[in-house]
Each structure stands twice: as C-alpha cells, then as structure tokens.
Assembly symmetry: C2
Homo-oligomer: 480 residues x 2
C-alpha cells in the first residue's frame, strides 16, 4: 500500500477554498447577485468547455491551445476551458435570435488562464460579469456604472471611485497626432500602463522602447517626436486633476470628430448618473482610463479602492459593439463589466467589511451518556425545529472533554451537556464556548474565566431554546 | 469577414442554462444549502482540475486520461477535470491534519464525465455532496439519511422514500454462498442491476452471461449452481416486501458474522432516525440497495421519487471507510451522499414544485419622451429604493409600443408609462402585462381585454410605489 501512496497536492496555480473562505465568498456573492437582480439582470450559465474556435476565432494556430487550458477532447475535437464569459455570451446571443433585447445578463463562475501563478494570481478563479447586449443606448452604459457603484455600497465599501473615459476620445487623439490607425491599439495599450509604470516609461515606449526592472527589453512603438509630443499634450491634461477633464480635453481635441462624440457621450452618461442619484464623489471622468482589451469601442470603466490602491481595478469593463460579429457577421452592440470575485473578497476581508465565520452549527449537542442517544437526538431535533443550526457530536470518542474540544476547535459557539442526573431533574447545561475563547485571549488566569458564570449555566430544559435564541441574537447584534 | 465566421455551437454533451433554468437552479440550490448549513455542514470548494493521480491512483495508465477530460497541461503535467468530489475531499482531509473531526462538509459544483451524451445525460453537470469524515459512529450515517429526507421535504417533494441497506450484509452473503471474495465486487455490481434489468437477467449474469437488447454479449461471473441458488435465496427475501427485511435476512444470514454486524448497524440507524422524528414512511430498509461504486464498506442509501420512478435515484451514497488511504496510507472512515442537481431540478419542474421565473425586473420604466430621460431615471431610482426590482428601457427604439413589446417578451409584469401630459398632471400610467398575458390565453377577443381597467390604470405619481407593492404582493401570494 505505502509505495502506491498519492501525494495529496494541488496543481500549481490552483487552490482549495476552506469553509471559512467559502462562507465569506458565498455571502459576498449573494449580495452581489441581489444587486444585479434588483436591476433586472438575469443569470445565465454557459459551459466551462467551449470549442477552441469559439474562444480563439476560426483561424487559431494549434499552439495557441496551449495558451489556454486547451486540448483535443472526446471525438477528437479541439476544446478549451473558458478564460472569460464574454465570448460565450456572444455565442449564446448569436444562437438565440428570439432573445428579448436588450438582454441584461449576469454570469458568475470560474475561468481558467495559463498565466504564471504567483501570490494572489491563480490559474482558476471566479469572475462575475454583467452585460447589456443589443443596444447602443447610453442608458445601458449608465446602468452598468450604477451597478458598479451600488455593488460596492451594498458590500459596505465606502471609499472607492468608479473612473471612466471613452475610447472614442483616444481615437480622436490618434487622428490629432497623425498616428497610423494600425498603431492605435498599441498606443492605447501603452497609455494604459501610465498609472502602473509612470510617465517616463510610457514616453520611452512611444519612442525607442525601454529596459524594465528585470533587465528585459521592451520594444518601442517608434512614433515620431511630433507625434509623441502631441500624445504628451493629452497626457498632461489627462493627469491634471485640477480642471474639469471634459472641458479641457474638448479644448485640445474638440475638432476631432471621434473625440467630440466621445466627450458628448460621457456628458450624457454624467447627466444620467446624476438623475439616478449616484453620489458625485463615487464617479469621476478620468481620461487615463483605457483598459487593455482590444475589443472596447466606446466608454470604458474601472474602479479604485482608495484604501487599497495596490489592488488595482477590481471591477472594470466597457462598451464593445463588435464582439458578436465573430458568430453572426453583423454587429450587436453591448456594454458590460466584470468583477474579480476573489480579489474583491480579499479586499473586503482586508477592509474588515465581512465577518469571517468558521462554523455553521451554533450548538453542539454532546453525547455524555451512551444509553441516552435517543434523548440527545430529541434535543437536537427540537433545536433544529426552532431554527437553530445544530449538530450532535457524531465522532468516535465517548469522552465529554474531547467532545467539547471538538466544538472549540470547530468554533461552534455553544455546547449542550446533559448527564443522567440532569435528565432526571429536567435540566440542561449550556456552555458558552465563544465567551470562553474571547476571555482566553484576554486573560492568562485560566481558573478565573472557567469560574465565571456566563461560561456555563444549568437551566430547565424547557428554557433551552429561548436561552440560546437570546444569546445568539446578542452575538449577532455584536457582529453587525 | 463572412468566411471567418465561427458557428455558434456547443460541444457535444454540454449545455447552456437559460436565465429561467438558472433562476430555478439557484433557488433550489439555495434551499438545499440552507438545509445542509442548518445541520452543521460546511461548504468547501476544491479546484476543477486535479493531478491525474489524485483521480486515478498512482499507477494509472496514460489511456485512462482519455476516460476523463484529462490532458497534459502547463508544465507538462497530467491533469484532469474532476468527475466527482469525494477524491478531492479525501485529498483535502489528508493535507489538513489539523481539521476538526468529524468534518461535516458539503460541496456543490460541476463535474465532468466522458460518458456518451444522450437525452438528460451531459458531460458537464452539477452535483452537490454532503459527507461526514473522520468517524465510524452510526449517528453520522443517520444524519446523512436525515439530511436526505429533510432536503426533499424542504423542496416540497412529498412522495419519496430513502431506501437503505448495508454492504456488510452482502459480505455475509458472499461467505454464505462460498463465493471467492475476489468476485464479491462483481457480485454486488450485478445485484445492483436487479431493479433495472430484472431478476432473470441478473441470474444469467451470475452464470454464463447474457445477450442484452442491443445484441451485445455481457460476460457472466460463472458462479456454481449451488452458489447461484444461495444468492437466489437472498434475492427472494430481499424482494419480498411483505415481511420485515431485517428479521428475514437475520434468519438466513444471522450466522454469518459480517451480516449480523450489518443488521445490527441498520437497527441502530433505525432507532436514531426514529428519535429524530423522521417520518416512518419516508425511509425503508431495502436489501436490494447495493450502489455500484466499489469503495462503499457499510450502509448504502438511495432515493426513489415515487411519482417519477423513471428518474432513478437522484440522491444516493454510503459509508466508505478506506478512501483516504490513497493519500495517507491509513484509514479515515467517512459517510456521505450526492445529489444530481440537474436531474433533481428536472424532477421538481415535472412535479410542479418550483415556480419558473422569466424576469428579475418587476417593472419596466418606459422612455416615452426623450427629453425627460432624467425624470424617468428619477422614477426608476425611487422604485429601486423602495425595493422593487426595476429597469429602465435601455434599448434603441423610441417607439413606445416596441418598448412595451420588449417588456411583454421579457415577461416583466408591469410597465410604467408617463407622457408629458401626465408629467404635468403629476400622474403615471401603469400597465399590468401579466394580467394581459393571462387573459390573452383565455380570451380570443383582444379588444375586450385591452379595454379592461385592470390592464392599465392612471394614478397619482405619489401612489405608484404603494400600488405596485400591493399588486406584486397579490401576485406573489397567488404564486404560493
């Protein structure tokens, strides 16, 4: 047997979620889903595996399967685990011509990416997306921003800002700086690095390139000096927070048609957000927002947690009017945004905006007298019928101390103890283990807190439920 | 563009869950999770991908990777999508020696199997498991059965029975019939076919084998006639529902030590279930219950929906005391059960025990006058603040009839309509689309129901929320 043992290990970049993490994740996800459903978004689930061409386009190179979790599956078909939801959404919309449009949908679930794993970087992680498909109406963009703000508010995060801009303004900049439109995606990709890499690095990338910290050479775009200085004009005003960004950029790029359209769109969105009573300090036009993804065509959004700037944007998206093209050969306009669930949860925990729970049981019914198991089960059933999550000690030891130790280790707050003497007198003992734990942290005098009467009480069995309900409510009140 | 189009299609054996299906699935899953948490089970999540050896054992043949969704992934590692949760649970327990035992955990999520797809048979489907790990105590087995019964009750299913037996009784039968213990797993596998294939087929499989409907030859176990007749004695009494199965089997196999232990264990479980007030008609010892899986060592359970016998067992499991061996080289006893979520949901829908929902929005705020979008957003915000899930029409048409058509298609029950005239008078119109839909089904006279005053009312805007709340509550009351 021993030589055949399998090492109990996880694949690199994969993780378990302990019950405590999972309880917190479910609680957070429940709140997020409630926000989305209250705004009319509908849940959709698509498969984890898709045809490779759904994810990579019709002319993918076989090697790019390796950049995803892709493989030749049953029936000799190239397939891959999804790395995001938007392509599957586009596939769904393309194959459901009868769908009521605009289609407000949300989807949560795992996505898989063959990135290099690192601290906080996993190869399987959970995302939650909302999108409104089938409309160019900017009310949809405003609704997406409103959903982002409301989500943070409902999660108890106060100090955040949803920053947004418009790709169209940048399209005008490309015209203004007389840059070849083929280079536009690269220019945007470089501007997107501004916040992270700083201005000097970005300017170098516009020119001849630069060497990064690790010594790697990063190729430059080789723009002309006149072109770079025009982009710099834009960067100057984009990073100048003292003036109204839209008025400023209008002075520079108002003559460029795409920019003027982009500016007008953002103004309209501002008006809508105001009418929706979205607090002004939670939203800001920020011309440095670009988003890396190639498929955005209009407004783009991201979010900063002001107390945790290192977390980057935990919630970002934009308008993409051409994505369904891949399947239909005609455009279906759409706008959406995506939350990194695991990163947001890490932020909530760090900000202490979520109470960590360790046990679902509030009460452990101990089994002191093996001949009275049925009586203990009777108590258990009464507790459960009264809506108190409970369990009976179902392990192998008959030793009461060890049973209590289990409750303590599992962080179950109360233990019910009834010996034969108590059964005869119609009494039960209740031990408050959470008070015990709290005191143990505060006092070194173990005897002292063991004596304290709140730790263990003996009460008539008919009062058990009301006693527990009272003390559980107190605890929950404290938790709020 | 056209020649590069990707066909919007699903992989064979994979499916989307439409919003209606997904809303129902979430609602059902929420109820199930609540039952499990009220009994002290804790949620765990493990990765979708595991090392191949975690799922297949240390000496797996490369070809068996193809029997799972297995492949050589990044870093040249053999990995596969999980086909169940129990092995991942065993891995988790093996690598967390500090875990409080018994560990009550539940896990829900997708599993993947390279089975031949067919109606209702998918290659990706959702399971939800509960297990109690780290105890031989039969209270754990009783808790698992109680969880099964409570789950069905909470889902509103009345007509079901959890049937259970004990592998140990069958171990005694193997001794009694003097069958080589190496053949025991095969004998159990064949007995497991009794319900589906019938007695004659099973007897043939014990002997020389048989030819199935499709003409395929099924190999027999080549038992001796004396051995077969002893197994038949057991089948006779196992299928005789007129007597107490435990008393009957004790007469036949009471002298066989494993059988007697198995019988005593089931009696103990019966006592526990009685003390937990589990209704007697919801549980039954049934000696034909075997379960196909090789790793069961004690009590085994399955469930029949009496109104839908064709669904087979939607919730089944058993005790497996050796599974963690693979990782630790020592035993950790455990017992658990697994629900096929998608099959159970199909059953709930067929039994009409779940209300299908199509929209999350209760109200569509239409945009009649493009100059007053802010006023419509104001109405929207007030509805949302009052807790009424709502959306504003965010599509591209300005035509009111088309906007109403959207609400109708999306099955949003109410539409709010305000023209400039109504704005001036401080009035709003509310159209009840669900009443309209119901009548449309009942009457062929379209004019008649269009006229009816419940279909559309005009009320002071200050009364909008109370009007909607009243009518939404009525609707919800009707739904119950």
């Amino acid at each position: 047997m021993k030589k055949d043992k399998v090492k109990p290990r996880l694949l690199k970049g994969f993780r378990d979620y302990s019950p405590t993490e999972q309880l917190a994740r479910e609680k957070m996800l429940g709140k997020i889903r409630k926000v989305f459903e209250s705004m009319g978004f509908l849940p959709l689930q698509t498969p984890s595996l898709e045809f490779a061409e759904t994810l990579l386009g019709s002319h993918y190179h076989k090697d790019s399967l390796k950049e995803l979790f892709g493989f030749k599956g049953p029936d000799d078909v190239d397939m891959a685990l999804r790395y995001e939801f938007t392509l599957s959404l586009a596939r769904y919309v393309a194959s459901h011509p009868d769908l009521a449009l605009p289609f407000r949908r949300y989807q949560y679930g795992n996505v898989w990416r063959v990135d290099k794993p690192g601290p906080g970087r996993f190869r399987e992680f959970m995302q939650c997306d909302i999108d409104i498909v089938g409309t160019k109406n900017l009310l949809a963009d405003a609704e997406i921003i409103a959903a982002m703000v409301t989500t943070f508010q409902q999660l108890g995060i106060d100090n955040f800002v949803v920053r947004y801009s418009n790709r169209k303004i940048l399209n005008g900049l490309i015209e203004y700086a007389k840059i070849d439109t083929e280079k536009a995606p690269d220019v945007m990709r470089v501007i997107d690095k501004l916040e992270k890499q700083g201005r000097e690095a970005v300017i170098k990338e516009f020119g001849e390139g630069r060497v990064d910290k690790s010594g790697d050479k990063i190729k430059g775009l080789n723009l002309q000096p006149e072109q770079i200085s025009k982009v710099e004009e834009f960067l100057d005003l984009a990073t100048n927070k003292s003036r109204d960004p839209l008025a400023t950029v209008e002075e520079l790029l108002g003559n460029m048609e795409p920019s003027q359209i982009g500016i007008d769109e953002l103004r309209r969105i501002q008006t809508y957000l105001q009418a929706m009573h979205i607090p002004e300090n939670k939203i800001a036009v920020d011309l440095t927002v670009v988003r890396g993804l190639g498929y955005y065509t209009g407004p783009v959004f991201e979010t900063t947690l002001l107390d945790l700037p290192d977390y980057g944007s935990v919630f970002s998206g934009g308008r993409y009017d051409n994505l369904v093209d891949r399947f239909l050969g005609r455009s279906i306009p759409a706008v959406g945004t995506s939350i990194g669930i695991d990163r947001l949860l890490a932020a909530l925990i760090e900000l202490k905006k979520i109470e960590l729970e360790y046990a679902t049981s509030k009460v452990l019914v101990t089994v002191m007298d093996q001949n009275r198991v049925s009586d203990y089960l009777h108590i258990l059933q009464n507790l459960r019928n009264a809506g108190i999550p409970s369990e009976i000690y179902s392990g192998d030891t008959k030793n009461l101390t060890k049973q209590i130790k289990y409750a303590d280790k599992a962080k179950i707050p109360f233990a019910v103890i009834v010996g034969s003497d108590e059964f005869e007198r119609g009494m039960v003992s209740v031990k408050n283990l959470s008070v015990g734990r709290e005191r143990a942290l505060k006092t070194s005098d173990r005897k002292e807190w063991l004596k304290a009467d709140e730790i263990q009480v003996t009460i008539p069995d008919k009062d058990l439920i009301s006693y527990l309900k009272k003390h559980l409510t107190n605890k929950e009140k404290k938790d709020e």
